[in-house]
């Protein structure tokens, strides 16, 4: 587990109400059974934790923790 994936899993824990084991391959919406608004709330936490901007537009292509980690790493490099 990369450091970014680990940090995202920590941020995701409060949204994990069904006790899913979190890993890079976790599908954020369907595995955790959370709705679109909750996914956006979670992404806001990720934005603030890493102090980056994650536009809503890219969420439709961001399903798993690994997908999100790639977005975070790309955006941190840009800053």
């Amino acid at each position: 587990m990369t450091d970014t994936v680990a940090q995202i899993c920590t941020l995701l824990a409060p949204f994990n109400s069904n006790g899913t084991v979190l890993s890079a391959s976790t599908d954020i919406s369907s595995d955790l059974n959370i709705d679109s608004v909750t996914v956006m709330d979670f992404v806001m936490e990720v934005e603030d934790h890493f102090d980056i901007e994650i536009p809503l537009n890219i969420l439709s292509e961001t399903r798993t923790v690994a997908d999100l980690a790639r977005v975070v790493e790309a955006r941190r490099k840009k800053e």
Binding site: D35, V37, T38, M44, E47, D51, E53, P55, L56, N57
Partner: protein, 402 residues
């Protein structure tokens, strides 16, 4: 794979509600008696969940204007204003709305939903960024998606959070549009406009306020939150609807920008849909004249809202907003108890809205009331009495004590 299979979850959630003997999304008003009364399931029911803030839907002058328009202009427009041309009524409505709003330009849309779709997509394009409040109405989200702009969501009513996000996006090309609402539809809370305008002075963006629930309701002129706050000069664009205080159907966008009129040729939700029906336009015109001439409607709404708010507070209910508003939402513990309480209220003769996630902020389950100027004191007292017996003595109280 079957296309509709993805909606299996919705079907199961719906089935769980039906199993409780309730269909909260299938209410039929068998007969409308007045702005605040309908026959539902054969029973006369007080309507406290219809956003009929001014109680104007049965106004005799509005009805007469609608009938006259049907006679003079027919039942429908059969197409877009771009293709078929406008009816004189459409341009008259835009002129009078612009006057009422004290704006140079006003464009009307067929529905309020389309007004937001049109304005967001007309103002912002793929090179621009829209900053939207987390609790924005779905029509704002959908309009933002249609625009192709970069979308950044900020924490609800948090100007400092917007400031932070604007700072992150500094140096990027393209325009910036910030979208707020006058009164938020679920909890009834208002945007802290002056805080946001401070951020506007610092960063320089264009600001749009959706006054859907505050138009007709707030301000000395009934123009909404910006009117009430005395900050209209700092708002670039206003959006609103005819389906609430105006009692018809349709929406508007307004502003003073010299290029505003050209949005007509850039907004697909304006260009590629039929224009409002003559009767709807005519009743909107009659209603706006009433709203201008009868400020006592706003006063009455304020009194009714305060009466319901104070009554709920005395019951110890946990409300969505600490300020008196015509939208008064009561927080409930969970989905099954909210459905059960909603049903008990309806069976006792009061219709309110049931609001559940993801349609609500912070996963709240709400029983949402909207107050009307046409409610009598007795109506309000009956609503309080029933919330007392159904909600305060039932599960709702547990949420307060939890």
């Amino acid at each position: 794979m079957d296309l509709l299979e993805k909606h299996r979850g919705i079907a199961e959630r719906h089935a769980r509600m039906l199993a409780m003997g309730v269909n909260a999304v299938g209410v039929t008003n068998e007969q409308m008696i007045s702005p605040t009364r309908a026959i539902i399931d054969g029973r006369e029911t007080i309507l406290a969940g219809t956003n009929n803030y001014m109680g104007i839907t049965f106004d005799a002058d509005c009805i007469a204007a609608g009938k006259q328009a049907l006679e003079d202009f027919g039942t429908g427009t059969t197409g877009s204003r771009i293709a078929n041309g406008s009816f004189a009524l459409h341009t008259q409505l835009e002129r009078e709305f612009a006057q009422f709003l004290n704006r140079k330009h006003c464009i009307v849309f067929t529905t309020g939903y389309q007004a937001n779709l049109g304005m967001m997509s007309g103002l912002a394009g793929p090179r621009d960024t829209i900053y939207l409040d987390a609790d924005s109405h779905s029509s704002i989200y959908d309009g933002c998606t249609l625009s192709g702009a970069k979308l950044v969501r900020f924490r609800h009513n948090d100007a400092a959070d917007l400031d932070k996000r604007l700072t992150r996006g500094e140096g990027e090309e393209g325009g910036k549009l910030v979208v707020l609402e006058g009164i938020y539809s679920m909890l009834g809370d208002r945007a802290p406009l002056s805080d946001f305008i401070e951020v506007k002075k610092k960063h320089g963006f264009q600001l749009l306020v959706d006054e859907a629930h505050s138009f007709g309701v707030l301000g000395d002129h009934g123009r909404g939150l910006a009117d009430e706050a005395g900050l209209e000069d700092d708002i670039d664009f206003v959006v609103g609807t005819f389906s609430k205080s105006v009692g018809a159907i349709g929406g508007f966008g307004a502003g003073n920008h010299p290029l505003f009129e050209y949005l007509r040729y850039a907004m697909r939700p304006y260009m590629f849909t039929a224009s409002s029906s003559p009767a709807s336009v005519a009743t909107s015109l009659a209603a706006i004249r009433k709203l201008a001439a009868e400020p006592q409607r706003r006063q009455r709404l304020r009194e009714n809202s305060a009466r319901l708010f104070d009554g709920f507070r005395a019951l110890g209910l946990d409300m969505g907003c600490g300020q008196v508003s015509p939208v008064i939402a009561v927080k409930c513990p969970d989905e099954p108890s909210t459905i059960a309480m909603w049903n008990a209220l309806l069976k006792s003769g009061v219709y309110v809205n049931i609001a559940l996630p993801p349609g609500t902020p912070n996963k709240l389950c709400l029983l949402r009331c909207s107050v009307s100027a046409a409610h009598s004191d007795a109506d309000i007292d009956r609503i309080i009495e029933l919330f007392g017996s159904v909600v305060a003595q039932g599960h709702g109280k547990q949420a307060v004590n939890a």
